[in-house]
């Protein structure tokens, strides 16, 4: 009976969008908070390092943006945003749901880990401000996997919408 519900496919797609935004957002909030606490510690001792520390704090925030972008893109594809809404077939909805998982799961985990790398970088800047470029590079490396996950999610969403159902 559940499977015959006309909007189940749409519901699955929306659930996917929600997860992408939620998981990326939660991960980023944790990562940015962690780096922010470390940043506050450094600035408490040396306010002159605010600029360098701020860049490092901002880095784990991107996963939340990726989750938001993916969710917005999917909601636009299935016309929840905008006009011309039509129910999504169940199988297509399920595919959209799975397409959102890479950016959600990888975004969540990588944001926290990037937060930890940013804390290490902030502590490096505290002792050696001239090494801030390297500190940013170390933390930015974690971003690679969030970007790859974003790409695969976005490509999947576009590909699924072009499929003949």
């Amino acid at each position: 009976m559940l499977l015959s519900m006309p909007n189940l496919g749409t519901a699955l797609a929306v659930l996917g969008a929600a997860l992408a935004a939620l998981m990326g957002g939660i991960g980023s909030a944790k990562g940015v908070s962690l780096a922010g606490q470390a940043g506050a510690g450094v600035v408490a001792e040396d306010p002159g390092k605010f600029g360098k520390v701020l860049i490092l704090q901002a880095l784990p925030g991107t996963q939340g943006i990726y989750g938001f972008l993916t969710a917005a893109l999917l909601l636009a594809q299935i016309k929840i945003i905008g006009t011309g809404f039509e129910p999504v077939p169940l199988i297509q909805g399920a595919m959209y749901f799975f397409a959102c998982l890479p950016v959600g799961v990888v975004g969540w985990i990588s944001a926290i880990l990037q937060g930890k790398a940013a804390v290490a970088g902030i502590n490096l800047v505290a002792k050696r401000p001239d090494q801030s470029g390297k500190a940013i590079t170390f933390a930015a490396m974690v971003e690679t996997y969030a970007v790859l996950a974003l790409l695969i999610s976005v490509l999947s969403i576009f590909s699924i919408s072009n499929l003949e159902m």
Binding site: S33, Q37, A38, A40, A44, V119, I122, N123, A126, K127
Partner: protein
Amino acid sequence: MSYDKYAYGVARVRSNELTLLSASDLEQLISAPGYKDTLRLLGDKGWQLPAEDEDVSSMLEREMAAVWGLFKESAPDIEELYSLVAYNDFHNLKAALKAALKGERTRLWVEPCINDPETLTDAVFERKYEDLPDYMREAAEKAYDAVVRLSDARQADVILDIAALQTAVDFAKKSDCPMIVELARFFAAASNVRTAVRSARNGKGAEYITQALCPSCNIDNDELVKTVLAGEEELSAFITRAFSEKAAAALNNGLVAFEKWADENMAAIVSGARYSNLTPEPFAAYYIHKELDVKNVRIILSAKNNLLDADTIRARVRTYDA
């Protein structure tokens, strides 16, 4: 998840690590032409120099008190770091007991400490041991009895020293930080070696030495007592097994050299903290490094006062890699 609670404090500690004395700073202090020049260099490095009516000890104590003040402000749970200063509280308790026996209040306290020394002194003067923290109560009563009933001041010192080491180990275990536990257990072990060697030199027997050692350390106390009484070779072999050849060589050169080795080994124990950003380890490492800085400054200033040459000072200062 509790890892995030250290982020703020560790960042503050890392910023303050810049104030530690580097190898080149130490060399500058050692090479300074005189006592006043050494003090001036310390002032340039940010140390708050003693006022005219103060001695250098006040300056050194202030440095350590500032470290503890930083920890109190920034550590998520200061109790995790109590093992680092517990020994000072027992020193203050010892001072309070001695003052109570003399009937004169003194202010020969060591800071930083966990408990307000005035409160300790009040409790001891009024013999209200229930006002003392749990971990001090029994030791304070026993030490007081040892002096008053048995007229054995040495035994009172032994009771308080063991209680101090044991308390530090107990606090360290509560911190759940393996590095802090290792520090406390090593400190107890090094103290045990010093006590055993001194006691043996003073002709004390196995029974006395055994009861003067802290049981919570990372060496076999029975073996230590056996070998310290057996002779230098046996003791040296035991120290090599328990610590290292370097430790044995230091002990062969005397207790002062062994103490220097022990101090440097404490710094080696905390060296891993440089890779840790979300644990209490950097706090412990900073405290140990600052303590070594304070010891080094004391050694250098005292040597300058006594007009010792630079090479003699270099041989005495503790080196570490922060």
